[in-house]
């Protein structure tokens, strides 16, 4: 009963969503079936599923701040990439062994910068995945929300942030591999990163992380905390008159969102095998917003659904008709905002109402 509540509002849809997640949790293991089997899934599909699930987590994170608290971030790619870089540092260290990573030797550096200290330990890297995006989000959010920057201004500044970060990471001297970023990972915790079992496990863990963050956020949004966030979106002033310190509500949601995005990035990197500053391209960050808008903002399952649909279309078109993909993406931005204010989920709701 509690479980169905965590999945959806109505038992019927809860069963449906539960089934979908169950299938997604099983799919990664099909990769381990013998290749002759009809159920065998190739590495391409496993990676694709894992990738989309990681991206769906970022969409969830953005939906938390945009759909609930009404803060549109055009820079969530920053937290995603920070998480990815933090985990990438660990992977790079494991690949390099005791020696310096390749890109540092190319720069003829003799020792690692101080911020690389301890990154050879898995748990420290995992801690960084959470801490770095969280800290950056806290500092930025604190100043932004304190001086009551909101709406379009806030969005523009988040975009400027991610742009500045991309420029910073493009520099070789920053110590994160510059233009090329980190790539060529070989092992993760001692396991071969390209082995079928590792791939399956990574994909499984990603789906699990998505499920946990989905249910956790649903739970949180049904708490008074979630209601307050919704109230902030609808009328922050009225809420302040009632005595709420909206700063801390917004800030905590913002930091939580950044942490989820960071974890998503950390799960994304070992699966695609590369992290570079192009993840911080402002366009990528805006794209996350269109996933959420397509699925339906303010509905967590919508964010996941939107990511799945848009990325499936993207995967098809970038291969089949590469020149039309940007037209379709642009059209999607326009059509969704003009005609589907609540996205696909809004469409479902309308359909349901008409039936009744």
């Amino acid at each position: 009963m509690i479980l169905t509540k965590l999945l959806s509002d109505t038992p019927r849809s809860a069963v449906l969503i539960g089934l979908c997640f169950a299938v997604l949790l099983i799919l990664p293991w099909l990769h381990l079936m013998p290749e002759t089997s009809a159920f065998h899934l190739s590495a391409y599909w496993i990676t694709l599923i894992g990738k989309i699930m990681a991206l769906a987590m970022v969409a969830l994170a953005l939906d938390l701040v945009w759909g609930y608290a009404g803060i549109l971030s055009l820079g969530h790619g920053l937290y995603f990439a920070l998480g990815g870089y933090a985990f990438g540092m660990y992977l790079t260290r494991e690949t390099a062994g005791d020696a310096l990573p390749d890109f540092m030797r190319f720069l003829s550096w003799t020792e690692m910068p101080w911020y690389w200290a301890g990154t050879q330990h898995f748990w420290w890297a995992v801690a960084l995945v959470v801490l770095v995006p969280g800290l950056v989000a806290f500092i930025f959010g604190f100043f932004a929300f304190r001086s009551k920057i909101k709406g379009v201004y806030f969005s523009i500044i988040t975009q400027a942030m991610v742009y500045a970060a991309a420029l910073l990471f493009f520099r070789n001297e920053t110590g994160f591999g510059g233009n090329n970023g980190f790539t060529g990972f070989t092992t993760l915790l001692g396991y071969d990163i390209t082995a079928a079992s590792t791939r399956s496990m990574l994909c499984f863990v990603t789906v699990l992380a998505l499920l946990v963050s989905y249910m956790g956020l649903r739970h949180l949004m049904n708490q008074p905390y979630g209601r307050v966030l919704g109230a902030i979106r609808d009328s922050e002033n009225r809420l302040q008159y009632l005595g709420y310190r909206t700063l801390w509500y917004k800030l905590s949601a913002w930091v939580l969102s950044a942490v989820i995005a960071g974890i998503a990035g950390a799960l994304y990197v070992p699966q695609v095998g590369i992290i570079n500053p192009s993840e911080m391209n402002p366009v990528n960050s805006i794209e996350i917003a269109v996933w959420v808008a397509t699925g339906g903002r303010g509905s967590l399952i919508g964010a996941i659904l939107g990511t799945g649909v848009v990325n499936a279309v993207k995967t098809y078109f970038t291969v089949a008709y590469p020149e039309f993909w940007l037209l379709i993406l642009g059209g999607l931005f326009v059509v969704v905002t003009l005609f589907l204010p609540n996205g696909i989920m809004g469409l479902f709701d309308r359909f349901k109402k008409e039936k009744q």
């Binding site: 945009w66 520099r171 808008a293 020149e323 037209l327 642009g330 059209g331 931005f333």
Partner: protein, 608 residues
Amino acid sequence: MQHHTLRPFVGPTSSKNGNNPQASASEVMQYAARFSIYAPLRLLALMALCITTFTTMAYADHDGQVHDHDTDTAHSEQSLVTPVNVATSTQASISNISTATTNSGDAIQQFVAGDFSKRQAMLSDWPGSAESLDSLVEFIANDELYQGNGGQTYLLNKDDQLFTYPDKKETADWPSDLSQITLTNALRSALIFGQAKVKLESDKPAQRLQAVEILADNIDQVDPAIITTAAANEDSAKVQKALTALQARIDFKNGDLPTQIAAVNLLADSDNPQVLVDIESALAADNLDSALEAALIDAESSVSRRIEISTWTGHIFTGMSTASILLLAALGLAITFGLLGVINMAHGELIMIGAYTTYMVQNFFQAYMPDMAGWYLLAAIPAAFLVSAIIGMIIERIVIRPLYGRELETLLATFGVSLILMQLVRMIFGAQNVEVSNVAWLSGAYQVSSSLVLPYNRIAIIGFTVIVVALLVYLLNKTRFGLFIRAVTQNRQMAHAVGIPSARIDMMAFGLGSGLAGMAGCALAQVGNVGPDLGQTYIIDTFLVVVVGGVGQVWGAVLAALGLGVSGTVLEIGIGAVLAKIVLLVLVILFIQKRPQGLFALKGRFVE
């Protein structure tokens, strides 16, 4: 964001009634009644005015370059040789040849046909005009001058096209033993000094100044007597000064001790980097006389300070021109942001479309009006304005209006539009950059001093921006259309209540803002690359200008663009382009902390 100001709206035009809302409201009613289809016409008229002014300025610029080309025609009349041929249209295909060269072709032909001694004799006493000697020097420097078997003169350009001389017709009939005219060192220096001599004898001060520069470039071989005679006959203060400086440099190199010290003291007023090199190498020598050494040290600090000053003036100038581009790009955005409270993410693409329109106009001129090709820019400015304005108005109608009051959605929708526009341009024109040629009358540079050179196209962009800002301020503050824009910006409901057609104002103002973006694209095409990603390069900087400048404020945008442009350029020199950008972004974010409404906030009481 809704602005609830106490006053319905107050503007300079209605200031006499400003304290009485009733009166000003009725005035607006009257205006609203009269406001009709004529508004676009008024806009066009303003555009025309703007273009005329720009043309005048451009012409002024052209005439202003006394430095490089004197009034060519006047000079060719004085030339000893009769004009041989009339310029034909094929002439345009050889780039750097002025009309004057054709008119005095004979001297060059004689030079080519002659043997060593004949050439030397010709160089020591050039029979043609100064311009023909200039073009001879240029031909030889570019390896373009060739000789046929019978001593005929040919020109071979870089694209391997052969032209006959002096009528400059392209010919397919290649002579069997075409040989390049190359000069021995003796002839080369004879050529240089011949050129300097002819120029020194010219009656145009600018020509004589050029001669001094030529001499200064070859200071090691200069005969001091030339300078002494030239200085004695010189009446222009500027040339005299240049001669004195040159004389001082020669004295410093060759003179005895007292002459050297006197020369060094004279040289202390120079800002020529070459002088600094001379002084430094002299200082490095051993056994210096103490008086000379003291003079040298003084001179070194003085010269290097001067050079520093003019270098920084140059940096500030570059910063100003960057700021002008930024401002042109941001003005339109500032207006629409102030009016509608939305950021138009497709603004960068409207700039890009303006640049592509410039490209199209250029191609049209080259194809159908080759004689006017140099003037395509004057047609491109209004064309870019119109194309971008029309596209902007369509965007406003289709995408922005239905989303009224939902700013964040508008942001996303206009971003979608920007993706579509970018991809369409990529599909039509290709992903590569297209080539927009610099117009001839904007190439070259104005030399303020030996270490400060200001390119004409940058000067023109600054001037153009100043004119656009002036026109925009006029439009906003002195016309009915501007009054309405300000009214709707301050308080949309109240403006609507007193009868201002706010929907139409929205569209018109959006068109104006987009048109300004188009003109920015036209200006950008003159200094940068034109490609489908052009808009993306400038858009974030443009947003920052608007955010820093404040909502709907022309002066805010001007100050913000100047601040960001100049400090950006200066920082770039100090710490490199990437770090400069990062520092600037961080500074802007910090600035927003202090002044969330930008430099100039609209006055009034805000609820949201």
